[in-house]
Point group: D3
Chain length 138, copies 6
């Protein structure tokens, strides 16, 4: 149960409908998932979030599938159940195979382990990693 | 300052040196970074972690650069300063450009925002995302 | 399902009942929510937590409604489902409107995004923020 | 040391300078703090983040000081050192007193404790909290 | 609902069955819990994780019950519901009493509170704690 | 640099000095570490936190050394640098050896890995773990 109602298309204001329409058109789907229906309780957040997502997830220097996998990695680390399910579905649509998902989860698990080994030993950053942040030779 | 000393190669036991040698050979480098020198305080953890990292980060269904970027995404979300620096350096060596780093950080920031919007509204997972976890059509 | 039973009033020891009575009287309600019934499995934690909550959430330099909203901000960031629901209910009783909840969640989402942008770029604290922590001119 | 250089005004592109100018004018300050100088490495993120922050932190149903305190609460919970320092300074400028800061930190600490007590006992949400999310009587 | 199917013994490959058999023999149980059935979707992760768990949780300088309680402390802090349930069950089998569980949760709650008080005040580490990390007199 | 000044004994109010005296007497030390000097900016938080810590960390069903190790496990998971240093020092005073510290960090690292494997696969809790939370046979 959400802390607010889900706003269906037929109950939505024109401002909300315009965002819903753009989501469906951009993603080439004919339905709206619960995330957006919940955000619609605060239309400025709905609009701003959709515009940001659309811009950030667009193809660029990183391809859309890799971006979806990065999204899953963050969502697993934050244990956001909804986000894991919705972005796993999106990544599969973008071509993620079972083998890729298995490796993605393994990397995320491993990174969480070594992140804590670093904390436990309070490892200091090597000078060489700090010396020249802009060059690939770092 | 670490909670334990860093173990240098010349002070290391044969067991630890064997791992250090494998790290340098596998990565084609001639030095050991602080992470491994700290883990060497507990040789079983040093060995087990290196063997796991070597296996998990090897090329497979996901290429090594994407794996490094997933590692950075987790480390940012966990705010592990050492890990961000060391894996950013590794990703740059593997070909990550400034443009890719900029987009990676943007995706990580965005994912952290929407993860919390989901929590704030307590959005329930759409049935369609749950229905058929094994198929790309989900 | 909890990892321990919920202790109902009629099954509670006099020590636990005394805390339950104080909760109901202080909050002017006639029931005990599950949080306290779970803590009652360890009466010292029940007593200590209630006394702390009563002191910390009392009106002071910050009003009770703002304190409830701070509580929600923390609970969203920690993704504590129970806490989000119980403190959203408490905040609504204290006067939080739908518009306020919408903005609160927007701020929490935004803060989580920028927190990770800071991590990603490993931004150093400006000297001016450190120079004079006690003065409003900082 | 950041993972990327800080972009100073004199080295910035016109696109970045336009954002810097708007930040200084909106906040009525004559300098740019490190956060924006780091984001300037990825101009789309700089622009998008500033526009979002400007919108989200503007006066609305919640006043700017309370919004800054919510930001601090999240940043403490995420242990983002930069964010704690910069938003504490901003909150002091907006009128936060020492007494208010003391109580704010007390609430954040308390909320983090009870969030984990809830986890430890795996407390289920009371039906009444779920029944009617939209009404203040919940 | 998991993001992948659970692999039952009768449907498992010989490689997976070998791990299942070792789990049941090592733990002296006659069933496999869901965690391993999920990992079996990626056999290298199943094998690697089981071998690591078997090594890390074995009796050593710290006894198995204390190790299980450390596991619970981490899982509560990460709010991993599955992990809290499974390791609470394991700790009870290893001798954890209700009184011990009550104190464990109290310590975890308290640590989460003081961790955030430290963040809120940005407390610097005392020199004496840094001076001599290897000696008990620190 | 803290967000507030550290209050030294000679500058402290009688209320704060009374807590400082009790800390030194209870712990049989002759100095006050920075944590308490920072909390002294808000005397009610100083008093309440000290009283809680004193009660929670006292010998009970769990011995003080194990409690300190649980504290470290939480602090590593929360990456609270101050807390890791101060509680590692306290645990060493209480008898923690290098071998124990090595195993503790290994368990914490492992638990953080498996917590995320659980999230990645969204593993559901086995019925048997939920059936009978109060009995050791669970």
């Amino acid at each position: 149960m959400a802390t607010a109602s889900l706003i269906e298309y037929e109950d939505a204001s024109p401002e909300v409908r315009a965002v819903y329409d753009d989501i469906m058109q951009t993603r080439e789907v004919d339905w709206i998932n619960n995330f957006w229906k919940a955000l619609a309780n605060h239309p400025p957040t709905l609009r701003r979030t959709w515009e940001s997502i659309k811009e950030v997830m667009a193809p660029g220097h990183i391809d859309p599938l890799t971006k979806e996998m990065l999204y899953i990695a963050v969502s697993i680390t934050n244990h956001c159940r909804y986000c894991i399910h919705s972005h796993t579905a999106a990544a599969r649509r973008a071509g993620m195979t079972d083998g890729m998902l298995g490796e993605l989860i393994a990397v995320v698990g491993m990174a969480n382990e070594t992140n804590r080994l670093v904390e436990g030993y309070q490892v200091e950053v090597d000078e060489v990693f700090l010396a020249n942040p802009d060059t690939p030779s770092a």
